[in-house]
């Protein structure tokens, strides 16, 4: 070891060690919070609703003792719908029209017969491909969109319990079932075919054109709606439930889950980001001060080195070499711990059913830039001290 290194090592190593540990911790917190932010962003990108907090809720009026027997008091009128549409937290809304006629579904092939209900709602509220979801009066096949929830309920509940085979979606969409709609002493035999599945709406949906025709022909057209579907501006808004309560409306809070989780994840990762940034800034302050103190403490020695023939470049090189070595160890250590932590985070995602398995290199890039900046800053401190203290 060159003797000049011995001189450098005279200084209090533990102080520098604490500073490096702080910087390492600060940068690690930054990297983790950054990767969480990126994961939340990726999650939002993958979310097929929107990347913002817009979303859909389905509401109904609260059923109490007073209105339980009065059907019209639990339904929404056109005025109710317009009032809801005019709320500032609402982007759009539509009502579910229910059938006012009898529906019987059967299949000789599968040997079953069941009563059924239909609902219809505006196409813009349905979250599936609507290419085949059209009906005109002369059509004998009624297209139908089935809730994914119902489909799963059949496959994993009813079919499993009755010993019936599970039906894949593709197969189900290829089948036609017998449909009889009747009312007012009239009936019509038709076919139905499943043309899509909806995650958003738990119902059996038919085109509005069919519903209006059938209600008019077999029953009576009603302008009331059993439920409303509302597109809201901010699904994660903490005020949303309060607004609904004020209007005496109920909704399935599960629908809020994803967006609320996103909001919580966003807030958490922002807190971690701020904390990481704070630790990092404190650490930078600590190491630059440590370096300044170190240089001031050995200022006389630096001057002496110059007096016995060392050039400024030689002094700088000697002092920056251990600094760069420490920085490189920090880069390797932080990269290793970051990748290990990300692997664990990805495992947790997997357990939670979140489809993120990526290892973003952005946090590593940011770390390299920050550590390079620290080395550059340290060099500047050293150069300034040498310039201010000529021998």
């Amino acid at each position: 070891m060159k003797t000049i290194q011995k001189l450098i090592n005279i200084d209090n190593k533990s102080y520098s060690g604490v500073a490096w540990f702080g910087i390492g911790l600060g940068i690690f917190c930054l990297m983790i919070s950054l990767t969480l932010q990126l994961d939340v962003y990726e999650l939002n990108q993958n979310d097929n609703s929107t990347s913002s907090n817009e979303g859909f809720i389905i509401v109904n009026k609260q059923i109490g003792i007073l209105n339980a027997l009065n059907d019209s008091s639990v339904k929404f009128t056109n005025k109710d719908l317009e009032d809801i549409k005019n709320k500032d937290w609402v982007l759009d809304a539509d009502g579910f029209i229910s059938n006012n006629y009898r529906i019987r579904l059967s299949s000789r092939r599968f040997n079953f017969r069941t009563e059924l209900f239909f609902e219809s709602v505006g196409d813009s509220f349905i979250d599936t491909d609507l290419d085949d979801f059209e009906w005109i009066t002369k059509d004998n096949v009624v297209p139908l969109i089935l809730s994914n929830q119902f489909y799963n309920l059949y496959n994993f509940g009813f079919a499993a319990g009755q010993g019936l085979p599970k039906v894949p979606k593709d197969v189900l969409m290829g089948l036609e079932f017998d449909l009889r709609v009747s009312g007012e002493g009239k009936y019509r035999d038709m076919k139905i075919r499943v043309v899509g599945f909806s995650d958003r709406i738990s119902s059996v949906l038919v085109p509005k054109s069919f519903m209006n025709w059938a209600n008019g022909y077999f029953g009576e057209e009603s302008s009331n709606y059993s439920r409303l579907i509302i597109k809201v501006k901010d699904l994660a808004s903490p005020d949303l439930l309060g607004e609904l309560k004020q209007l005496n409306l109920e909704m399935n809070k599960e629908l809020l889950g994803g967006k609320v989780v996103n909001r919580v994840a966003n807030v958490s990762s922002t807190i971690i980001l701020c904390f990481g940034l704070m630790v990092f800034l404190l650490s930078v302050l600590l190491i630059t001060n440590a370096l300044k103190l170190k240089v001031l403490a050995i200022k006389e020695n630096l001057v002496l080195l110059s007096q016995i023939g060392y050039s400024q470049a030689m002094i700088l090189k000697a002092y920056l070499r251990p600094l760069i070595k420490s920085a490189m160890v920090l880069v390797l250590l932080n990269t290793f711990i970051y990748l290990l932590s990300k692997k664990q985070i990805n495992n947790w995602y997997k357990q939670l059913g979140i489809g993120i398995d990526s290892y973003s290199l952005i946090p590593i890039g940011i770390m390299l830039i920050l550590i390079a900046a620290i080395v550059f800053l340290s060099r500047r401190v050293l150069v300034n001290v040498l310039r201010q203290n000529p021998s």
Binding site: T3, K6, L7, I10, I308, S311, Q312, M314, S391
Partner: protein, 206 residues
Amino acid sequence: MSIQLKQISTDYIPYSDSDIWGSITTIEEHKLCHVYAPSGSGKTSFLKILYQQEKNYSGSVIIDKESLIDIETSKLRTSAFSIVFQDLRLIGGLTALDNVMLRADLFSISKADVKSYFDSLSISHLMNKQCSVMSRGELQRVAIIRSLIGDFKYLLLDEPFSHLDSHSRELCIKLINEHQERNGFSIVLCNVDQDDFFQYNQRLVL
């Protein structure tokens, strides 16, 4: 290589009848020069000017036809001059050997070679002793050893033997003379009184 002093002076040192301040003087190559004057006459300032530690002066110093101010400091301090400072300038936290090795590293001189200097002055036992716990006399000998390291043209000595007993001083003078004869460097020794430590070729009064 000679040193030409052309009417150098500083604001803070009064002078009259000086061979250096305000005069034109040449210190010849391979010669032994003795500069003497009572305390406060500017002996250390004169050496500081030569060693580029002091730049606030008027007049000029020419070293081998080149102005002193144009010579790169680190080059001047390795290839032109070596020095024993009056205040010795050793690092208390390092051992005597390490203090000497700091300069030896600049010339790639081995530890074994450096150790031989300590042997010559009979202070091998001080090599691994920290300078912070050494006496002034011991430190002076370490500083003299350090000054002899390297390939330089002028050895500047600022009251180098002030704290040495006669035996130690003799050993130091012998070592310096041996190196001077071998390497041919010039010596500029500043002291308060006239002395006969070396066979001077030139005596200058400040």
